[in-house]
């Protein structure tokens, strides 16, 4: 295989997915410090925001320490080479309340997301961003919950609305490399647009799955500094960049400066480095959204139950992203049984 000239587009999700790991408490100063570092490393896209994206600060998922406006305008100031990206889930964020201001703040890349079987709720948001001349990607979250044929159908809808790339998120960290290979290559075959992959590391597969995606034809990858992200974290970006370099892919990222950025992230914003905790392993196995880790741990303690039992029970209920309220209901039932 000739990888030598292949270019990859890297999105750094440290300041968005990492927000899950600190209950959405990222500060303005931390955003400024890390954006400066990522920008100087030459990361293509830096994603910033609440863990569930634009307009998602809520009692349901967790309130942000700073507003979307502060997060985005701060990031904008420190990103020159790098583009500013955001995650957007219709149902949380609306065009009037959230997207229009985000465009005014200077966001370049809009990643419009839905649960992997619900792509049609992204139509108006994707079309709106397109008419504003912005770069728009479609994101299928929790993609382990649908087979490759359904994923291709949903991805095709996003492509038809105008998405320039489709990103499969392994939001639960549930995939093994063969799953990634199967789904990405199928999408590659059936879509015109580029394919991307967003890993979580619950089963220790963050890097391996990302590489499997590239080898199956993906050309966009997500990662975060030190793996700072929901649950067990994401593909560790500085490792990913190094591995890609050895494999002969071009990311346009300066490795030394990326390593520096990752150390800066560790000292400036990471309270505790992501590890594959025993609870995270169960979270990955049960196929529950990685962002549930913090509330599951808290609520399991409040109700005096085993968080592993809680994760498996939530997995059986097939909860999707954004259903944090169900955790208490399920915990209460478990504590009574």
């Amino acid at each position: 295989m000739n990888n030598l000239k292949k270019k990859l587009l890297i999105t750094d999700v440290t300041l968005r997915d990492g927000n899950h790991a600190i209950s959405h408490q990222i500060s303005q100063k931390q955003i400024a410090i890390y954006c400066e570092a990522a920008n100087s490393a030459g990361v293509a896209i830096v994603e910033v925001g609440h863990g569930n994206g634009l307009g998602a600060s809520s009692l349901q998922v967790g309130e942000s320490a700073v507003t979307d406006k502060v997060m985005l305008t701060t990031a904008r100031k420190y990103l020159e080479k790098s583009k500013l990206g955001i995650h957007v889930i219709p149902g949380f964020s609306t065009i009037e309340r959230d997207l229009k201001p985000a465009i005014d703040y200077g966001v370049d890349v809009f990643r419009i997301a839905s649960h992997c079987t619900e792509a049609d709720i992204t139509e108006r948001h994707i079309r709106f961003c397109k008419t504003q001349g912005k770069t728009v990607f479609g994101v299928l979250m929790m993609s382990h919950m649908a087979n490759k044929v359904i994923l291709a159908d949903e991805a095709r809808k996003m492509q038809d609305y105008g998405a320039e790339a489709i990103i499969l998120m392994d939001s639960s960290g549930n995939y093994l490399p063969k799953d990634v290979e199967e789904k990405v290559s199928f999408l590659k075959k059936h879509l015109r647009v580029s394919i991307g992959f967003h890993a979580h590391n619950n089963l220790g597969m963050g890097i391996a799955n990302s590489i499997a995606a590239i080898q199956a034809g993906a050309s966009l990858l997500d990662g975060s500094a030190k793996g700072f992200g929901a649950g067990a974290g994401n593909a560790q970006l500085e490792v990913l960049v190094s591995v890609l370099e050895r494999l002969g892919y071009h990311t346009n990222i300066d490795l030394y400066k990326m390593l520096d950025a990752s150390d800066i992230a560790e000292s400036a914003l990471i309270k505790s480095l992501p590890v594959i905790s025993t609870t995270s392993i169960v979270s990955g196995l049960s196929g529950v959204f990685s962002g549930y880790l913090k509330p599951v741990k808290r609520i399991a303690e409040e109700y005096n139950i085993d968080p592993r039992d809680l994760f498996f029970a939530l997995g059986e209920q097939k909860v999707v992203a954004g259903q944090e309220d169900i955790i208490i209901k399920v915990a209460k039932k478990l504590s009574n049984s």
Partner: protein, 291 residues
């Protein structure tokens, strides 16, 4: 045909309109005199035909010639269409219950403001999440004077969300937030909608999350019990499943809404609740009319 029943018509022959029809047929107060849409070949039309109800594909024009025998119309079309329909119904002297998010008339939640609404000629039923959450928001407001923030999260089965719902998520959110604000006087409100594709389909759940300065949970429990039994009188599948409780500095109250399974499946509580609310209001209008 009974002469003393209140004469209603349904405009819009989709799922909502057809489910309303079945509910009207069961009512002791109401009689459906016309089921009106644009396409005689739709499933709704054939259901109406089987029930022996007069059908028409003349849409709003039907009402121009038949206003004499119609007391009230349910508009189950779209916000865009209702904006055109509303002045016509007004001119024809037909009362209107608007099931779209057009918000021409005042917002109506039967358990909260039915008496005020009976004076109106056009009332708006807000949204499914609004019907499920506003009674509770009002209960919270009756005990807590300064509500900082109320948030409502509704999770519904993917199969219960048709193309119109999916295209209009933003309008759903805006309308529900406006309704919450109006009835609770909270400083800030937020609505979130989640679609869950699990099979078997999930029942609609609606969770009210709230921040107040001095939460009084025991008083709230009584108030919530009172208002939810009021809602249950017209939405039998409305059931408190969690709370009110305090968790992580939030008040949490969760409801399950199971539908009656008339035309729409039982899990589609989201569609049932707004129809049940509309029927409850039309029956109130009918009673006033008798007097």
């Amino acid at each position: 045909m009974s002469q003393n029943k209140y004469q209603v018509a349904i405009l819009g022959s989709g799922n909502i309109g057809t489910d309303l029809l079945i509910k009207v047929q069961r009512s002791n107060e109401l009689e459906c005199v016309a089921f009106v849409g644009r396409n005689l070949n739709s499933q709704g039309m054939s259901t109406a035909l089987k029930l022996g109800v007069t059908i028409s594909d003349q849409s709003i024009n039907y009402f121009l010639d038949h206003s004499d025998c119609i007391d009230l119309v349910f508009d189950a079309t779209s916000a865009k269409d209702h904006k055109i329909h509303a002045p016509i119904f007004k001119r024809l002297g037909i009362k209107c219950i608007d099931l779209t998010p057009a918000k021409i008339g005042p917002m109506c939640v039967p358990s909260v403001n039915s008496l005020d609404c009976l004076k109106e000629i056009n009332i708006n039923m807000i949204s499914c999440g609004g019907q499920a959450s506003i009674p509770i928001a009002a209960a919270i407001a009756s005990i807590h004077k300064d509500i900082e923030y109320i948030e409502v999260v509704s999770s519904i089965a993917s199969k219960s969300a048709g193309p119109a719902t999916r295209l209009n998520l933003d309008e759903y959110i805006q309308t529900t937030e406006d309704g919450l604000k109006h009835f609770s006087k909270a400083k800030k409100t937020k609505a979130i909608l989640i679609l869950n594709p699990a099979i078997p389909c999930i029942n609609m759940t609606t969770t009210i999350l709230c921040k107040v300065k001095n939460p009084n949970i025991s008083a709230l429990k009584k108030e919530v019990a009172k208002i939810s039994s009021k809602v249950q009188s017209y939405v039998p599948g409305y059931e408190l499943i969690l709370g009110p409780l305090l968790e992580n500095e939030r008040i949490i109250i969760m409801f399950k809404v199971r539908g009656l399974g008339d035309y729409l499946p039982k899990y589609a509580g989201n569609l049932d609740i707004i129809n049940c609310a509309a029927i409850a209001m039309s029956e109130e209008y009918a009673k006033v009319n008798e007097r």
